[in-house]
């Protein structure tokens, strides 16, 4: 009775160890793939273009969100500084969503994301006359993939020179 119980427990512990090791390995691989994401917001630079030296053109959002991350705010502050220096330049903020939502809702979500970037630029002294907003919803993904990383690259607001 007792030896068999000990045997059983040892077996269970061994099995648990194996399972846990498997998990750990998997996790490592996952972080490798998703090193470009924090939570589900894209933090990589693959798709980013530059309006000027050190002025990235886009910010990224979490699923269903339009809240600006710390990194996004930094990007927008550099855009604002650049726009203040180049006062003749107007911009269009193009808001986008990933493919995992209904088309019409995504159009509205893209508009909301672009506006959240616009509001931030305005608090840093850029006149609303110089900024227009255009939502593409899920119509213009940058990454054609159907995976979380691709979707994170597509949830974005891109600042484009209008003149």
């Amino acid at each position: 009775m007792i030896p068999s119980k000990i045997f059983k427990n040892t077996f269970l512990i061994l099995a648990a160890c194996l399972v846990l090791t498997a998990c750990a390995t998997k996790k490592d691989v996952a972080t490798d793939i998703q090193g470009q994401m924090q939570g589900d917001t894209y933090t990589g630079t693959d798709t980013v273009k530059y309006l000027a030296d050190g002025v990235p053109d886009r910010v990224f959002f979490a699923t269903n969100e339009s809240i600006l991350t710390t990194a996004s705010r930094e990007t927008l502050r550099s855009q604002a500084a650049w726009l203040r220096k180049n006062s003749s330049i107007n911009v269009v903020l193009e808001g986008h969503a990933d493919e995992r939502g209904t088309r019409e809702y995504n159009l509205a979500l893209g508009e909301r994301r672009a506006n959240s970037a616009k509001d931030y630029l305005m608090t840093y002294g850029i006149s609303s006359d110089r900024i227009s907003v255009l939502s593409y919803g899920k119509e213009r993904p940058v990454d054609a993939g159907s995976n979380p990383l691709a979707w994170s690259k597509n949830r974005r607001s891109v600042t484009v020179k209008a003149n």
Partner: protein
């Protein structure tokens, strides 16, 4: 204009010759999934040599009688309610069957109903008579005749299908209808989209725009051949109105920003849509006669995808005012807003059934998309189909079939993307791919054309 006169003439000369009442034994129950479609025989419409030659000259079809019967056969088969039997088994010639079928012959091949008919060339017109027979009772159930211009031959096939469907199921048909949709081509990151229209069975496909600008979400006016849709003309996303007959287009309303998600009111006199400004989307209507714009919702959330109830008294829409996208119903003036979707997941794209009792929707739950229906008070939720991605259901005019679009998952390299139209019965049975020449999305079903 010529087209309109033609159409008008068509309706004028469409008439009934022998209205007959019989006590039918056959009845098709369409309220449940139909796993045993009714076996019936569609005999080729008989035609004499002289008429055959005349039509061959005009329409370039060898035997217009059998062409029309093929249309009827395909429609009835696609409905999932009928099983048209192979013509190879038919024992009786079309012309004799149309006069007086030998019921025992048709009974032998297990047909329960029989469609016969005759096509003639009369004064440069196409005259069609057809009869529906109840084989078991040995009786004629219906007999009708129409005269029309020969070019309308496909519509004749659809009208016959509608009459047969109505006689056997007790519900209006949906075959003499068209579908407007968005044709898609090119890579996923740079899709070229055009408005396209086709008959319900995929015939007569026609592109309505050239693809120079992005177009989305076309919807039929339930009372006319007008369409409302979203166009990015000059990179300004706006709701437009398009007359399919004349090709004229105009912007709907004068909004300082993006308008989208348009739909007609049931009487066709208003357009209901969303207007996005400062990160908020609200619902507005515009009266097409006096151009008066009314604001219906006023909330900091996203309110979109509005749809009227068929009596025009209520509006359903989706909103993220609760934090996530859910479905709401309100009075048509915007008062009395009530959330109706409470299941797991997020809910969008409500579309009110033409029958008024149900709302079709898209649901996203645990990474899967569903098309489903619920009652207008939110009860009785029923999911009809599950897939990687699908949305935007549109009802057949009789409220029995839904058409929607489905997208495929791409691989690690972003390859393998496609968008296709699919249809499914309200029962959840009879799911079918709707063939289109290109990839397709955003389908909208027209009303019956005769209406």
């Amino acid at each position: 204009m010529k087209d309109m006169i033609k159409k008008f003439y068509f309706f004028l000369v469409c008439f009934l010759i022998i209205p007959i009442k019989t006590f039918a034994l056959i009845e098709v129950d369409i309220t449940r999934g139909n796993l045993n479609p009714l076996p019936l025989a569609v005999s080729p419409l008989s035609i004499n040599d002289k008429s055959k030659k005349s039509f061959e000259k005009i329409l370039n079809k060898k035997n217009i009688g059998s062409e029309i019967s093929i249309i009827v056969e395909n429609n009835l088969r696609t409905s999932g309610l009928f099983n048209p039997l192979s013509k190879d088994a038919f024992l009786q010639a079309p012309d004799i069957a149309n006069l007086k079928p030998r019921f025992e012959d048709w009974n032998l091949i297990k047909a329960q109903a029989l469609i016969t008919g005759k096509v003639t060339y009369v004064d440069e017109k196409l005259r069609v008579e057809f009869r529906l027979w109840d084989i078991l009772a040995g009786k004629e159930m219906m007999a009708l005749a129409f005269t029309t211009v020969p070019e309308n031959w496909r519509r004749v096939g659809h009208i016959i299908s509608d009459k047969v469907y109505e006689r056997l199921t007790g519900e209006k048909g949906y075959f003499d209808t068209r579908i407007i949709y968005v044709s898609e081509e090119g890579p996923k990151t740079q899709r070229v989209k055009k408005l396209a229209i086709m008959d319900q069975d995929g015939a007569n496909n026609k592109f309505l725009t050239l693809g120079n600008e992005l177009v989305l979400t076309p919807r039929f006016n339930p009372t006319s051949q007008m369409v409302t849709y979203l166009s990015y003309f000059k990179n300004l996303p706006r709701v437009y109105l398009l007359d399919i007959e004349t090709g004229t287009q105009e912007v709907v309303g004068d909004f300082p920003g993006m308008t989208f998600a348009p739909r007609f009111s049931p009487n066709g006199k208003k357009i209901i849509m969303s207007f996005a400004k400062d990160g908020k989307s609200d619902i507005y209507t515009m009266d097409l006669e006096n151009r008066i714009v009314e604001r219906i919702t006023n909330h900091p959330s996203i309110d979109t995808s509005p749809t009227y109830s068929p009596d025009g008294k209520y509006i359903s829409f989706n909103s993220d005012r609760s934090g996530y996208q859910q479905i709401y119903v309100m009075q048509s003036d915007g008062s009395d807003v009530k959330r109706i979707s409470f299941g797991n997941g997020i809910y969008g794209t409500p579309v009110w059934s033409p029958r008024g009792d149900l709302i079709a929707f898209t649901k996203l739950h645990k990474g899967k998309f569903y098309i489903g229906v619920m009652r207008a008070d939110g009860s009785g939720e029923r999911l009809l189909t599950e897939n990687y991605y699908q949305e935007a259901p549109s009802w057949s005019p009789n409220g029995r079939v839904l058409i929607f679009y489905r997208e495929t998952k791409t691989d690690a390299k972003g390859k393998g993307f496609s968008a296709k139209l699919w249809s499914i019965d309200l029962t959840g049975y009879n799911e079918r791919l709707v063939e289109t020449p290109t990839d397709a999305s955003d389908p909208s079903w027209s009303s019956l054309l005769g209406n």
